[in-house]
């Protein structure tokens, strides 16, 4: 499992529940170190163990935990870089949804050994979409829930009103249903193409 993903879980726990909670979890699974390195690769089983431990510790099931991680990645000031990179995907939420097909490729341009699950967006009728997340290759259950949280936070970011539902897993793929109820429901957050202006 790429350190980027482990590191995201770690940052989520530390920024949301505090460093002590994170250290408690690393000790419980006998990690042997306190911090994941974003640029190293770890055994996939480690990620599963730590997610199980965190679920028990925080009283959350896997789905809720992962969705919170996804929301955190977009909405927390410490991960502003990720929000910005995602916002490059589209000028509005509709445009952004269509950029999800390219997301793994975009991630690989930045970090060549980071393999995110392939995603496929289908527009069934106007404003009704399904997103297939082929998370089977990641050997981590429920990556689609991370995507759910991410979409929810990105909709807020664009000021769009969306209804999301995780329809479960079939053939190692997760299906998300997305209804874009109102593309310009609220003001949304600013996005400046220039990183310097954003700081």
């Amino acid at each position: 499992m790429h350190g980027m993903i482990n590191r995201a879980v770690e940052r989520f726990v530390r920024d949301t529940y505090g460093r002590d909670q994170w250290l408690k979890a690393t000790e419980a699974v006998d990690l042997g170190f306190a911090e994941f390195e974003a640029m190293l690769v770890y055994d996939a089983a480690l990620t599963d163990q730590i997610l199980n431990e965190l679920g028990d510790m925080l009283g959350k099931d896997r789905a809720n935990l992962l969705e919170d991680v996804g929301t955190y990645l977009v909405s927390h000031p410490n991960t502003e870089a990720i929000r910005r990179l995602l916002r490059f995907g589209g000028v509005d939420f509709h445009d952004f949804l269509h950029s999800l097909d390219d997301l793994p490729e975009r991630a690989r341009l930045a970090v060549p050994d980071l393999h995110l699950p392939a995603m496929e967006l289908r527009e069934h009728r106007k404003a009704f979409f399904s997103l297939t997340v082929r998370s089977g290759g990641l050997r981590m259950l429920g990556f689609g829930h991370v995507v759910m949280g991410l979409l929810r936070a990105m909709a807020d970011d664009y000021g769009a009103l969306v209804l999301l539902e995780h329809k479960g897993t079939r053939d190692r793929s997760e299906i998300l249903e997305i209804h874009l109820a109102d593309a310009s429901f609220a003001e949304g957050r600013d996005f400046d193409l220039s990183a310097r202006a954003a700081v």
Partner: protein
């Protein structure tokens, strides 16, 4: 002049090339792509000569419309004359005569920020709408940010690894029980002193009666004594001297820039004196002493680690043979005594 004629190609050009300018046959601007609204801060430049707005940096030509037309399809390096003097690259295409595309005898110049796009989006507050849909500028901006973030993560990793490496090296040179240096450090320091032709004294020190302490009072007492011995040796030496624990109760001391046999003998006496002062471990007295054999690098024309270690060992053996708590200096004039 056909300035008044409608420019049929304008809407198409605005979408395909938002950063283009259309010139008439005299080199005056008759139409500008929508991106120039932001680049020029809302100012209209219609009617201005193109070469008043831009300086042509390369290729270098007469700054006339005729010369400009001669550069059709070549790569142009341009710079805005007004602040922030942004550099752009461009290409000029003459407008075909009497087609209604634009003014006859005129030209279309399409421009791009090239590598200065990162500064330009900041300077002109550009958005995706200011670039053609097919333009890779947005992808380039994405990549610049993504790569900076990835580089930052790598840089942090390197920093942490560097810190860990220094800590590991420190540990690898240190005896963990006493905090003194270990045999690896000794090889390193001796090599360095010999290579730099610095004079030094090499002293081998074995504790006496240490085995008795260990056997009668246990290992905890033994560890306590070793730590005490280390402290005494640190106190009795200068900070640039090196103290090495080479084995259980065996030590090597290196005194850089020491050349005097008297001073060496004095040092040895003082060390033995201090070691013989009784220590107490959990109320129990631990009595030890030390035997020392030393040699000076100045005894040798070409000192080597092996030879000096051997001579210091021989002197140490002689000291032990003379009874405990003694020190002996290697005698460079004597022939090597045979060991029993």
């Amino acid at each position: 002049m056909s300035d008044m004629a409608p420019i049929h190609a304008a809407p198409m050009m605005d979408t395909l090339c938002p950063m283009h300018l259309m010139l008439n046959d005299t080199g005056h601007i008759v139409h500008m792509g929508p991106a120039f609204d932001k680049i020029l801060g809302g100012k209209s430049v219609i009617g201005l000569r193109f070469l008043e707005l831009f300086e042509l940096k390369r290729p270098s030509i007469n700054q006339t419309m005729e010369a400009l037309l001669g550069l059709a399809t070549a790569k142009l390096h341009l710079q805005l004359r007004a602040a922030p003097r942004t550099e752009m690259k461009g290409v000029l295409v003459p407008i075909p005569e009497n087609t209604g595309v634009g003014p006859s005898g005129g030209a279309v110049i399409n421009l791009s920020f090239g590598i200065s796009v990162v500064d330009a989006v900041h300077d002109f507050s550009l958005t995706s709408a200011d670039f053609a849909v097919t333009d890779l500028a947005i992808e380039m901006l994405y990549l610049v940010e993504a790569k900076s973030a990835a580089m930052e993560a790598s840089r942090k990793l390197n920093q942490r690894l560097q810190g860990a490496k220094i800590a590991a090296e420190e540990q690898a040179f240190t005896d963990t029980l006493t905090g003194l240096k270990n045999r690896r450090a000794m090889d390193y320091i001796l090599n360095r002193l010999i290579a730099s032709e610095t004079d030094f004294v090499l002293m081998n020190l074995d504790l006496d009666y240490f085995k008795t302490v260990n056997d009668t009072l246990g290992h905890a007492a033994g560890d306590y004594v070793l730590q005490n011995v280390a402290r005494i040796m640190v106190e009795e030496t200068r900070s640039n001297d090196t103290i090495i624990r080479t084995g259980g109760d065996e030590f090597v001391l290196i005194f850089a820039e020491l050349r005097s046999t008297e001073a060496t003998a004095e040092l040895a006496c003082r060390l033995i004196d201090r070691l013989e002062q009784p220590m107490r471990f959990q109320g129990q007295p631990c009595r030890i002493s030390g035997s020392i054999g030393a040699t000076l690098s100045s005894f040798y024309a070409k000192p080597t680690q092996e030879r000096m270690m051997e001579d210091a060992d021989t002197a140490l053996y002689a000291a032990k043979h003379a009874g405990r708590g003694q020190h002996r200096l290697h005698d460079p004039t004597a022939t090597k005594p045979a060991r029993p």
